[in-house]
């Protein structure tokens, strides 16, 4: 019974940064502290999205990779714009509602197998689009 250890010789530094980012993503959705809803309404949408993450820098790094990606990586501009619209529409309501809606989109994408591979990471399309939005 065998198998081979994963090799990460190339792009080691980039992988390391990304691994922190992507590893943080599922945790971020779960535990990110959120400001009261009354304050959220004053934030720009992207600032609001930033606050969905415990590590927004990491999410932005993922977004930059998505934006810079060539050859096979999907263009997520439309998806990101749609998500921005969704968040805008929900903003008068509560932050929890926004977070819940995004998590539902992510679960839906995973359920449909609609995943985007970013430097080896399997991300839900909506998740990649949110990161894309942050990096815009």
């Amino acid at each position: 019974m065998g198998g081979s250890p994963i090799r990460h010789g190339f792009h080691r530094r980039k992988f390391l940064g990304l691994s922190l980012a992507a590893a943080a993503l599922p945790l971020a959705w779960r535990v990110a502290p959120f400001a009261p809803a009354s304050g959220d309404a004053k934030l720009a949408t992207r600032q609001l999205v930033e606050r969905l993450f415990t590590h927004p820098d990491h999410a932005r790094a993922v977004g930059r990779l998505v934006r810079a990606g060539a050859g096979g990586r999907p263009d997520l501009r439309e998806e990101a714009a749609a998500l921005e619209g969704l968040i805008d529409g929900l903003r008068p309501r509560s932050a929890a509602r926004i977070r819940g809606a995004l998590r539902a989109r992510i679960r839906r994408d995973f359920a449909a197998g609609d995943v985007v591979v970013v430097e080896g990471w399997y991300l839900a399309r909506a998740e990649a689009a949110v990161c894309f939005l942050l990096a815009s």
């Binding site: 019974m1 065998g2 198998g3 081979s4 250890p5 994963i6 090799r7 990460h8 010789g9 190339f10 691994s19 992507a22 590893a23 993503l25 599922p26 945790l27 779960r30 992510i106 679960r107 995973f110 359920a111 197998g113 995943v115 591979v117 430097e119 080896g120 990471w121 399997y122 839900a124």
Partner: protein, 525 residues
């Protein structure tokens, strides 16, 4: 009776059935035929213990993908490779037996239903638990809630492993020795299959020892049970009566060599501790381990091969766990441990890890007991599609008995790579949906999955080289494992598998051997 072939005796050995090879298949057949009416002769190349000169008869060269040294990839002694195996058992899936339009050359001329009674009979030969324990119902036995995977995509199954595994040469030696109708000859190597002048029957076998003793074996029926590399070698070497070798009228002997490619496909980042440990633990109280496989529906819709995924751990050393073990062992032996004070300090310093390990132990896992899992990798065992270009051929070199050695040209295709990619992607999606974990592809998969750049390994499973098909243009043996065109020559073992699924093959090897033993018993003397 077990005798040494090199000892004095008649020039001709006679029997009703001659089985060549005393590995899992050969011993299972002889054991099944023991105390019956047929006189059974078993020829084993090795002795009861490992012997370097005998083992070197397996020497050969890898000319395809990197693979284990052929001399060390199997064992040439009484008990065969069961002398050194992990013991994992699992029947093939029903779909594995079917002709799948998306898998060229797939389809057995048997169904799983045909083999099921023999699987059930094979199960106690391995001293395993109930046959039904392979099914997902085992979750109840484990007192665990099944993970709610989308069963339209992924299913869980259980493999069984007795610890330690049954070593056939030890477990069944006494019974074979006591059987009045069975004679096992040790140090007896098949040197040549002599066909009758019309080529339709085996007239006799020429058998030789490394010490130079030569004798003939005459029997009503002969069974080759030497494994997926040696069976084709023996057929190809005996090419005097049939050009190209015995049973090779359609140039199929040695082709379609299949392994179970094993790769680490992804790194796994748990969302929460122990959420996915079920996919890693060996549940010692039921001798079983869970794996995740693509559903039949997913295999068909994606056009992929059968595969399985489980987790492999990378450990870090925890001083407190090691100290706890050393203290425990010393106390059990009635001794005071060396440097007891330091060890107690180590234990106190790692109490949280010790508590976690203890909890894991209590709930049935054992791998966490003295080590801490640093991270998990997703390891995939894949079916290999039958590929005529993946093959065993003879080299120009000869061994000590004058038989040509083999070159193994193991080849994998995009079908295996894509099957691994689809399973990895599906596991990543399902784990993401359930919030269990996130996956990152291995560098090999991320870079396109060229097999030449991979670190693929095999499971020491050698299949397909004398494949079964009732149509002689598609197979070397028929559904009764009889070589096409040779009325008294049969083959036992995984070389007859037309396809091999992902499951470890030994249970299926023994099930087929029992079926062949029944068939030969019905044919009589």
């Amino acid at each position: 009776m077990i005798v040494d072939f090199r000892e004095p005796g008649g020039e001709v050995i006679r029997g009703d059935i001659c089985i060549v090879g005393a590995g899992a298949a050969g011993i299972a057949m002889a054991w099944e035929l023991a105390d019956g009416k047929l006189k059974v002769v078993v020829l084993e190349s090795g002795g009861l213990d490992h012997d370097g000169d005998t083992q070197s008869l397996y020497d050969g060269e890898n000319v395809g993908l990197d693979y284990y040294g052929l001399e060390s990839a199997r064992m040439r002694m009484f008990g065969g490779t069961t002398n050194h195996w992990s013991g994992w058992c699992m029947p093939l899936d029903a779909l594995d037996f079917e002709a799948r339009p998306w898998v060229p050359l797939s389809g057995w001329d048997l169904t799983k239903g045909d083999l099921l009674p023999y699987y059930r009979r094979a199960q106690p030969i391995f001293d395993l638990g109930p046959f039904d324990r392979y099914a997902p119902a085992t979750w109840k036995e484990l007192d665990l809630q099944p993970v709610p995977l989308d069963e339209r995509k992924l299913v869980t199954q259980f493999t069984q492993q007795r610890e330690p595994p049954v070593v056939f040469g030890q477990a069944y030696r006494d019974e074979l020795e006591a059987a009045a109708n069975v004679t096992v000859y040790l140090f007896a190597n098949l040197a040549h299959i002599q066909l009758s002048p019309d080529g339709r029957r085996v007239a006799h076998l020429d058998v030789a020892s490394l010490s130079g003793r030569r004798r003939k074996v005459v029997a009503t029926r002969f069974v080759l049970a030497c494994g997926g590399l040696e069976n084709p070698r023996l057929l190809l070497n005996s090419d005097d009566a049939q050009p190209g070798g015995v049973g090779n009228g359609h140039d199929l002997v040695g082709r379609c060599f299949m392994e179970h490619p094993e790769v680490v496909a992804a790194e796994v980042f748990e969302a929460a501790n122990n959420d996915i440990a079920w996919m890693f633990d060996w549940f010692r109280h039921v001798d079983a381990r869970a794996v995740v496989c693509p559903s039949e529906r997913l295999q068909e819709s994606e056009g992929i091969l059968n595969t399985s995924a489980h987790l492999r751990a990378e450990y870090s050393r925890v001083p407190g766990l090691a100290a706890e073990r050393q203290i425990g062992e010393s106390v059990q032996n009635g001794q005071v441990p060396d440097e007891l004070g330091d060890k107690i300090l180590d234990v106190v310093g790692d109490l949280d890890d010790i508590a976690a390990a203890g909890w894991s132990w209590l709930r049935g896992g054992n791998h966490h007991r003295y080590r801490k899992v640093e991270r998990f990798h997703l390891e995939i065992h894949c079916e290999q599609a039958p590929n005529p270009d993946s093959r065993v051929v003879l080299s120009e070199e000869v061994d000590a008995l004058g038989l040509r050695k083999i070159n193994l040209d193991w080849r994998l295709t995009d079908a295996e790579r894509r099957s691994i990619e689809v399973l990895t992607r599906t596991v990543a999606s399902e784990f993401g949906r359930l919030g269990l974990a996130r996956l990152r592809q291995s560098e090999w998969l991320a870079s396109g999955g060229d097999w030449a750049d991979s670190e693929v390994e095999g499971g020491y499973h050698h299949m397909g080289t004398t494949r079964m098909a009732d149509d002689p243009t598609r197979g070397v043996v028929d559904r009764d494992c009889k070589v096409h065109g040779v009325e008294n020559l049969y083959i036992a073992g995984s070389s007859v598998f037309p396809t091999g699924g992902w499951a470890n093959p030994t249970l299926t090897i023994v099930a087929l051997a029992l079926r062949l033993a029944d068939h030969l018993t019905q044919l009589g003397a």
